[in-house]
Each structure stands twice: as C-alpha cells, then as structure tokens.
C-alpha cells in the first residue's frame, strides 16, 4: 500500500499562554492521512484548530509533538528540507484578494514559486501552462493584469495557478471558497476535482461547510476542539453520522428536514478543554442520559483514544456497534 501523500501522526500544537490564560491546545493529538489522488475534507467550527492543522501540513507551523510525513518521510524543519518540501505541498487561502501582492502582476505572482525554487528555465511556458490549467484562458490576456483588476474567482484561479507552477503533489486549501460568490464557488470546487483527475493531485480541504464535503470529498474528518471526533467515507459520515456533534452539525443545515439539534453554550475554548470526552458539556446524547446511568462518568471522566489515521472511526463512549 503506497505511503499516503501527506500524513499527520499524533500531531499536537500548543500555543504559549498569554495574558493570564493557559496554553491553547489548538491541535490536541490528531492522526490524519491524505492518500495519493484522494480529496479529504476536514470539517469543524471556527476555533477547533483546523486552520492550525492545515498550516502544520505545509510546514508553516512547527508541531509541539508528533510529526508531519510527506510520502512516508518525516518532514525535517531545517531551512533546506522545509524549502524542498514546500515545492510539493501548496497552500490555498480563503481571501483570494488578500493572497495576491497588489504590486505584482499575474505573471510575477504565478512565477513567484518557480523563481524561489530556481526553476528559471522555460519560466514563461511554465507560467502559461499553469494559468491555462487553472482555467484562465487565454493566459496572455491575464499575464499583465493586476489583482484589483480581477474578480474574486479569477484571483483564486491565479493563486491556484501559482501553486500548479511548482507541479505540486498535494494541495492544502483553507476555506478556499468561503469568501467567493455562490455561483463562482462551484466553479473553483470543480477545478479542484478536475486537477485531481487530470494531474493526480491529492487535496486536503479545510472548511466549516458540510455541503462542500458532499460536493468534492472522498473522505471526511470532523474536528472538535483540537481533535478528530469522526472520520470515514463521505457517504458514511454525511448520510449515517454516528457522533452526536456530526449529527448536530448536519441537523441544523438549512434545507434539511431532520429536526434541528441546536447545541447550547458558546464555541469551545482551546485553553480550557473539558475532562473526559471534550464534547460532553454540549452533547445532546450525554444530556439525554438520566443521572443514574453509569456511562455518564465515562463521558465526564474517561478520555477517548485518538482515532487512527485511515480506518473510519468515531470517538464517543455512547456508540453501541463499531462503524459499519
């Protein structure tokens, strides 16, 4: 079985304490793998650590413990190793307008990567192919333009072209379509799918939008307060969710006819992670248990094991039979 394109093993990232608040466990033990040619969606509320995890996957954030592996080999953080690694894993950001230097035209923005990695031979051809792969046809018409002359969708395509110019094998996208118009959203998602089929690219897409997972993801992982609580094939997780948090997320989606489970309380705080199962203070299933039920102490006291990287699984004490 070939090594996954990108993998996190027992990854922990803790930010130092600030102003009287404890250390923030943004990522609190995560195993997650993105197979070759596979698209994985990582879904979670804001503040659950998904953006930190995405940045760790491209080597922008050093893990406190655990490791990030690229095609099986652990990522070293010496400047040379990181630079070589950064050629093959590319990052997409949410705000396309902000992700482009206003003083750089499209040609320079796309040529930035190759120039940094010394791929100067045939630079114009490389930029041209990247632009057309990203759907900006005819490329010559866009090369001299500046970011403020482009629409949101076109700006995101320039960023994608900038990534493709380095012939990456994995794309890590942090909310790639969240700030785009609804109509343009589908176009960019379809582009990511096309790149998977035409270039065999793998992709980790981080988002809060379950619809996006249904649109393009092969596998889905749901993250809560720094840890993955459920993962598996998109059809299983989205249609037959087993973790109460996933069920709650799906139930409140507009347009579904399921009766909505509206969780109480405020979004989780990574500096104060509850004991036992970290979701129990907001969990509807835990609240439904009557006070005498023995399993309550499980939820409040016993920590849950970290899910393995690939096998579909659920992190909850109140699940009867294992995943189908």
């Amino acid at each position: 079985m070939t090594a996954p394109a990108l993998e996190a093993r027992d990854l922990c990232i803790t930010y130092p304490p600030r102003q009287g608040r404890g250390p923030a466990h943004a990522v609190d033990g995560v195993n997650l793998a993105v197979g070759v040619g596979e698209i994985v969606a990582l879904i979670g509320e804001s503040g659950c650590g998904k953006s930190t995890l995405a940045r760790a996957f491209v080597g922008l954030v050093r893990p406190t413990s655990g490791e990030v592996c690229y095609q099986g080999t652990t990522l070293g953080y010496s400047s040379k190793a990181v630079k070589r690694f950064r050629r093959y894993t590319q990052l997409l950001l949410q705000d396309p307008g902000g992700a482009l230097n206003p003083k750089q035209n499209v040609f320079d923005a796309v040529a930035e990567g190759p120039r940094l990695h010394g791929l100067r031979a045939g630079l114009a051809e490389r930029v041209e192919t990247a632009l057309s792969q990203a759907g900006l046809r005819p490329p010559a018409q866009f090369a001299a333009r500046y970011p403020y002359e482009l629409s949101g969708g076109q700006q995101q395509r320039v960023v994608i072209a900038g990534a493709l110019a380095l012939e990456p094998s994995v794309i890590v996208a942090d909310e790639p379509v969240a700030s785009l118009d609804a109509s343009v959203r589908g176009e960019i998602l379809r582009l990511i799918l096309d790149l998977r089929t035409s270039l065999g690219l793998s992709a980790l897409v981080v988002s809060h939008d379950l619809g996006l997972a249904w649109n393009i993801a092969d596998r889905v992982a749901v993250m809560y307060l720094g840890r993955i609580v459920e993962q598996g094939r998109a059809e299983d997780v989205l249609l037959r969710p087993r973790h109460p948090y996933t069920q709650a997320l799906l139930s409140v989606l507009p347009g579904t006819d399921a009766d909505p489970v509206v969780l109480r309380g405020e979004p989780p705080d990574p500096t104060a992670i509850p004991a036992g199962c970290r979701f129990h203070p907001r969990c509807q299933r835990f609240a439904a248990l009557d006070t005498t039920d023995g399993r309550r102490t499980l939820c409040t006291g016993q920590a849950l094991a970290i899910l393995p990287a690939d096998a579909p699984d659920v992190a909850c004490h109140l699940i009867e039979q294992p995943h189908g």
Binding site: Q90, L100, K103, V127
Partner: protein
C-alpha cells in the same frame, strides 16, 4: 511557442505620471521645488563672491526695495534678493542630505522592527520609542553646539533627530502589510525572510517611504533655519536662518525694515509647502487603498 512573455513594468510608471501631473497640488509642489532647485544650482553663475562680501557691499544701509535692489538691502548694504537665492543653497543642501541619512536609517530600522517580530523587532521598537521621548530641537541644539558651528554639525544633528519619525511610520506600515495573507502565501511558496522583505514588503511600503521623505525634508529645512537662527550655523555662510538672525540681532526689527525680514521667511514657507504638497500628491496616488480599490 508561447505567446506569453514577462510583461513590461514601465506601464505602472507611466500610469503614475499621468495621474500625478493632473493634480493641482502636485503641479504647484513640483513647480516650487523646480524653481528653487534651479535657482540654487545656477546661483554661482550670476552671484559673485563680491555680492556676498560685507566689505564690498554697494547699497545703502537697509535701503527699501528699489529698481536696482528689488528686495532692498541688508544692514551692510548687500542685495537681499541675491542673499536669498544663495541662502537657498544651504537650506536645500542640508535639508536634503540630512533627510536622506534619516530616511535610509529610519526605513531600515522600521522595516526590520516590523518584520522580525521577536527580540530583534521588539528591541528596535523600544530603541525608537526611547529615542522619540527625547525632544528633537534641544537634542539638535546640544549636538550642534558641541560639534561646533557649521553645516556638517547641523546636518548630523538633524539626521539624528528625525530618523525616528520615519522608523515609526515604516514599522506601522510594515506590520499592516505583513498581516496581509500574501505574505503567508509567499512563505508557503518557500520565500525566506530577505525575499519577503525585498519582494513583498518593500514595494508596498515604498510609497510611504517616498511620502515620508518629502515630509522629513520639510521638517529638516525648518530645523536647519531654526538652528542657524539660534546662531549654530556658520556665521560666514549666507543662509536664510542667518539672514533672519541678523534681522533679529540687528536693528531691522526695531526699525521695521520688513523687506529684510519678510523674504527669507516667505522663502522657507514656500519651499516647505512645496515639499509637503508634492509629498501629499504622491501619497494620494500611491495610496495602497487606492491601488486595491
């Protein structure tokens, strides 16, 4: 095969020039600077040392403006107009040189303080804040007094006291630029610190450096004239500050000889305005907000 070639960058310069020369303040500013610079540079052609020499003065004492002396004469009888033109040389030279020193130093410190957040950045930031707490004129006076009278000591004094303003400004702008996502994208592409500063931060901070330069020159000229007025300039050198100083110490003020007192002051105001208006016009066009709209 590829129809694509790296597009030229001159387009931007032409676009900037087009906008710049349509703004009234820009045209006025550049016109003023042009007139003064040309006058100052060509001065040696039509002003001979005799005109400036007190011993060979030909006009009457503090004579009012006349056909021969359009701006009247000073105490020893020299033509105020010629003194004024020659005085421009000192003020412009000291102002510009002091500013170049200050802006280069200030921009470097501002850029580094903004980019390297950790100890280097905080260290430079604290250095700037401590330095800013010291009032500039008393410091400049002390420096000039100790270094002895003359243009070089004034230039050094002004440079040392005006770099902090630029440093604070560039640091603030660097922080805003570094907060933009394209810096993180550049880092993810593999750019190192130097590449990020040179290729991404500097071009976005350059407009502010340009604007801050014009404003620093304006401030430097005001400082130079103040220092020379207080007697720290080279008494033998003719400059606007000394002209006003002589008007003050001499009897011009008490005898109400306005034609000896007004011209140097008005010249200073006009030159300083020239620099500020040019700076404001450049800033208006290169304003980052304008670029991204």
């Amino acid at each position: 095969m590829s129809a694509l070639t790296a597009p030229p960058r001159i387009g931007r310069a032409r676009r900037f020039a087009g906008q710049f020369f349509r703004m009234p303040t820009a045209i006025a500013g550049v016109a003023i600077l042009g007139v003064f610079t040309i006058a100052a540079l060509t001065a040696p052609l039509y002003i001979h040392s005799s005109d400036l020499d007190v011993t060979q003065a030909t006009g009457g004492q503090l004579a009012p403006p006349s056909r021969h002396y359009p701006l009247g004469t000073d105490q020893p009888g020299r033509s105020v107009l010629l003194l004024l033109i020659w005085g421009a040389r000192a003020s412009l030279a000291i102002g510009v040189i002091a500013t170049l020193l200050a802006v280069v130093l200030g921009s470097a410190i501002g850029l580094l303080a903004g980019h390297y957040q950790r100890w280097l950045g905080r260290g430079l930031m604290h250095l700037t804040d401590w330095f800013i707490a010291v009032p500039s004129l008393p410091l400049a006076i002390s420096l000039a007094a100790v270094l002895g009278q003359g243009a070089t000591s004034i230039t050094i004094a002004i440079a040392i006291t005006s770099w902090t303003a630029t440093a604070r400004l560039i640091r603030a702008q660097t922080l805003t630029v570094e907060a933009r996502p394209f810096i993180e994208r550049a880092r993810a592409l593999g750019a190192g610190n130097v590449q990020i500063m040179v290729r991404h931060v500097l071009p976005n901070v350059a407009p502010l450096i340009l604007v801050s330069t014009t404003l620093t020159v304006a401030g430097a000229i005001l400082a130079e004239t103040t220092l020379t007025f207080l007697g720290l300039g080279n008494p033998t050198e003719v400059s606007w500050g000394t002209m006003i100083n002589e008007a003050y110490t001499g009897s011009a003020v008490s005898r109400g000889a306005w034609w000896y007192l007004l011209p140097p002051g008005i010249a200073i105001v006009v030159v300083v305005l020239g620099f500020t208006m040019t700076g404001r016009a450049i800033e208006h066009i290169l304003d980052p907000r304008m670029a991204t709209r």
